[in-house]
Amino acid sequence: MSESGAIVTARGVVKTFEQGRVRAVDGVDLEVRSGEFVAIVGPSGCGKSTLLNLLGALDEPDDGTLLVGGHDLRSHRDLDHVRAIDVGLVFQLDNLLPTLSALENVEVPMVGVVRSARTRRERALELLGEVGMADRAGSRPPALSGGERQRVAIARALANEPSLLLADEPTGRLDSRTGARVLDLLDRIRSERGMTLVVVSHDPRVAARADRVVSMLDGRIVPT
């Protein structure tokens, strides 16, 4: 975290594709303070998911400065560690491993981080309890509903107790009622754990709940 209390600091961040012809993120400046709930909104193709992927260390910026949890992601040698420890990711598609149970899916990020298998299991059970899925711990993803899968995915994102939770359209594939519940859950976890939450969404309810809304258009942040 920086001295200003920002967990995310982006200065002139650029991400291009197709040999630079497509500037998906085009000089973004952004600061997210610790404990803040920020919604990134904008039309499809505006670059919001690309920006989230950069914040989650899934991709590397081509230019600019990007600090996440005090790590400079352009020069950091171990982005795997950043993804494992500092950042929790929730995708639009739950991206759970279909052959593993809900419990095992939550354990996956802890493999290689938490040595004791027993501790991994206990912590995973605790997290499933926190998202209201303890009774479905032994179920595999195909046997779960969309909302249940997303709740397991949230538990998985919390496995290594990250300080920053990033969610890409977490309600995008859910009906409005289930989506609202998932949103409630994310907001509750953020406030209970004092985490920072950045959500990319088309859903106006997300923007309504967020502390701050960041709008993007053509790869840039525009005034709301």
């Binding site: 899934l58 795997d80 990711l89 991206n95 593993l100 095992e104 493999v111 290689g112 290594n160």
Partner: protein, 365 residues
């Protein structure tokens, strides 16, 4: 969930494919193990021949392409006996012929003095005293008092002896001149059995015999057989070639399976990378899956190989002279082949998968 647990689940998710791959690899390992067990049995048989009847080593004709083709003049026996360190030397004729259902029936022709000095362990009857008499091994399928004809020689079975080696148990001992007549080589012997004096170094005496008696070579163990028999070298070469083929064919099979598996799981690998798994962990996971699969094939192949070797030596045409041997090194060789197949087969798909960035993998449909 453990790392190993995840590996096993990944293998079991495409159970049929994994089982078929396992079977394919295990066939190669079966061949390696079966051939290894049979070769080891042959070596063991050869080793027992070199020191049969309590001899310390045997002497054969130098340059003979096969031990059964060795021919030494009977005078060689006295020459060997005169070498310092030699306590006794007895010329023996080894004759292989067909008898009953056994196409490799071993007949050993021994001198009267040799038979008296180094008597066989008899289970029934007595030792032969005349050319019309013979003693047979416990597995030769005859009984005392029976009269048999071998190579136009009528022999009365006067005794049944016990022996450690299969070829002796399924063979017969007759007087030297009878075996020479069967072989139509009077005044020659196949080999000379040598006993060294008390305290003498067997290897040193054997080397001295090689030096001082012209045209002979000493054989103290199966390892020395290459001096008179290229069969083992050929079998070793065949085993090596089969191992190599098993590695190549098995490796391609495993690679095919793993490439398909990784392709189908590209998005999942992206998820693993997204939650912080390092490239090295992904690589280890894929290599471990492949090695686990091949170790399973190794277990199956080892069991099938040992079973086939056992079955093969029960055939009448083989069992008469060969008992299978199951040395640990043969199974180690089978498992080494399995592990090499697993590593080679996994190398390309594992490197390919570990090189994917999380985003490349997550975008995969």
């Amino acid at each position: 969930m453990s790392f190993v647990g995840l590996i096993l689940k990944n293998l079991l998710r495409q159970g049929t494919r994994s089982v078929l791959t396992l079977l394919g690899i295990s066939l190669g390992i079966t061949t390696v193990v079966a051939l290894g067990c049979v070769t080891a049995g042959m070596r063991s048989t050869a080793g027992s021949l070199a020191t049969s009847g309590g001899a310390d080593f045997m002497v054969a004709q130098e340059g003979a392409s096969d031990l059964s083709f060795s021919r030494l003049p009977e005078g060689t026996v006295a020459e060997v006996a005169a070498v310092p360190g030699v306590r006794s030397a007895h010329g023996v004729v080894l004759h292989i012929t067909q008898f009953g259902g056994n196409p490799y029936f071993f007949i050993m022709g021994r001198g009267r003095e040799d038979i008296t000095d180094n008597p066989l362990t008899l289970r029934a009857g007595r030792l032969p005293r005349s050319p019309e008499e013979g003693v047979f091994g416990t597995d030769a399928g005859v009984r005392v008092g029976q009269v048999v004809t071998i190579d136009r020689q009528r022999l009365r079975v006067v005794g049944i002896y016990e022996a450690a080696s299969q070829w002796e148990r399924a063979g017969a001992v007759v007087l030297l001149e009878v075996a020479q007549a069967m072989q139509r080589s009077p005044d020659t012997v196949t080999i000379v059995y040598v006993r060294v004096g008390p305290g003498a170094d067997v290897e040193a005496v054997a080397r001295r015999v090689d030096r001082e008696v012209s045209g002979v070579v000493s054989i103290a163990s199966a390892a020395d057989y290459s001096k008179v028999d290229q069969g083992f070298a050929m079998l070793d070469a065949a085993n090596l070639a089969i191992s190599f083929l098993a590695v190549v064919i098995g490796g391609i099979g495993v690679m095919n399976t793993m490439v398909m598996s990784i392709f189908e799981r590209t998005r999942e690998i992206g998820v693993l990378r997204a939650v912080g798994w390092r490239r090295s962990r992904v690589l280890r996971m894929i290599v471990s899956e492949s090695v686990f699969l091949c170790l399973g094939a190794g277990v199956l192949g080892a069991a099938m190989g040992a079973g086939i070797a056992s079955l093969a030596t029960r055939l009448p045409s083989v069992g008469g002279f060969l008992a299978p041997d199951y040395p640990a090194r043969v199974f180690v060789q089978g498992f080494v082949v399995a592990i090499v197949v697993g590593l080679l087969g996994a190398l390309y798909p594992a490197i390919r998968a570990s090189r994917l960035t999380p985003m490349e993998a997550l975008r995969h449909e």
